[in-house]
């Protein structure tokens, strides 16, 4: 354990306020309220996956904990907007550290997979829309690229490339989910 690590229980407690995020998005009709609910869902998923993947012997690295805290902090606001029927576009906080750890990359990848599964299921429940299906194919291509480079103990160059691809994939899946939440 590093001295800068934070007890995982402390970080997961921060995410409890947004636990509703997983249900609210499915309860609301498509429109601005659902868009806000999708924001809460995406942010809560991202933070939960980061904390889950970063947990080591009951502790989470300080930079992961700080980042998760800043993401959890956004969830409550978007939940309020969802209940008020107000939409909007969420912006992910920036990472303070330049280089991602293997655990952070794993968390980002798990978040991308989870959000991809959600949007793919949502997309399948609607009439075929080639433009949106093409967006999903781009997300799948991102996941394939990451999987191809996913090795144990990746050097800094690979970690940087994987982080960039995952960030791009997360932005794309978030945007697709937003379109689906707003759409007819």
């Amino acid at each position: 354990m590093l001295r800068a690590d934070v007890p995982a229980a402390l970080v997961t407690a921060l995410g409890r306020d947004g636990a509703d995020a997983y249900d609210v998005v499915d309860r609301l009709p498509r429109g601005p309220a659902r868009e806000a609910a999708w924001n809460t869902y995406a942010l809560q998923t991202y933070a939960d996956k980061l904390v889950g993947a970063g947990r080591r012997a009951g502790f989470v690295r300080a930079d992961t904990a700080l980042y998760a805290k800043s993401v959890y902090a956004l969830v409550a606001g978007w939940l309020e907007r969802a209940h008020a029927g107000a939409g909007g576009t969420a912006t992910l906080p920036r990472w303070s550290s330049g280089m991602h750890s293997a655990a952070q990359l794993a968390g980002m990848r798990e978040a991308l997979m989870a959000l991809r599964t959600y949007v793919a299921f949502d997309l399948a429940s609607r009439a075929a829309q080639p433009e949106l299906e093409a967006r999903l194919a781009e997300i799948d291509a991102c996941i394939d690229r990451v999987d191809g480079l996913w090795i144990e103990r990746p050097p800094a160059e690979l970690r940087g490339g994987i982080a960039g691809t995952l960030t791009g994939g997360l932005e794309q899946v978030y945007e697709l989910g937003r379109i689906l939440a707003l759409g007819p």
Binding site: R145, G148, E152, R153, E157
Partner: protein, 149 residues
């Protein structure tokens, strides 16, 4: 024009001549060699232009020479001898592969791609084909880091 040779840490896997005559050597390795980092030799001649100090400056000269050798040869060499085995062991345990394209004309350039052992042959082929056509390509299955320092 592309030439293929046996792969080795100090031997290029391929050599390529681009359409403008630029000559590239392509190295494939699993080891990131530690760089040659020179230290700082301490002290300058204390000669201030006065005749009385010239003798003292001559006295300092051997020490400055030793300091120069220490900072520019001994320390960097010691650093490399210490780090090289670590780099080799780390490289052998990793599935990451470094592909470096090196040219010395018109000025020295080292380009770096990082890939995995599964993608390496395909990535190498694409890089070589690109350089032969005068292009720096970014094939799928690798990360292009650009020019190395």
């Amino acid at each position: 024009m592309i030439h293929t040779a046996r792969v080795g840490l100090f031997r290029p896997a391929r050599t390529v001549t681009g359409p403008t005559g630029d000559y590239w050597e392509i190295y494939v390795s699993k080891t990131a060699l530690p760089g040659w980092k020179e230290g700082q030799a301490g002290g300058n001649l204390s000669y201030d232009g006065g005749y009385g100090c010239a003798g003292f400056a001559l006295f300092e000269l051997p020490f400055m020479l030793l300091s120069f050798l220490w900072a520019n040869i001994v320390v960097p060499l010691g650093r490399i001898l210490f780090l090289l085995p670590i780099a080799v062991v780390r490289g052998r345990r990793s599935r990451a592969v470094r592909i470096e394209a090196v040219t010395d004309y018109p000025h020295r350039q080292v380009l770096l791609w990082t890939t995995t052992d599964g993608y390496a042959p395909h990535v190498l082929d694409e890089i070589v084909a690109g350089l032969a056509a005068g292009k720096i390509v970014q094939p799928t299955g690798c990360i292009y880091s650009g020019q190395e320092d």
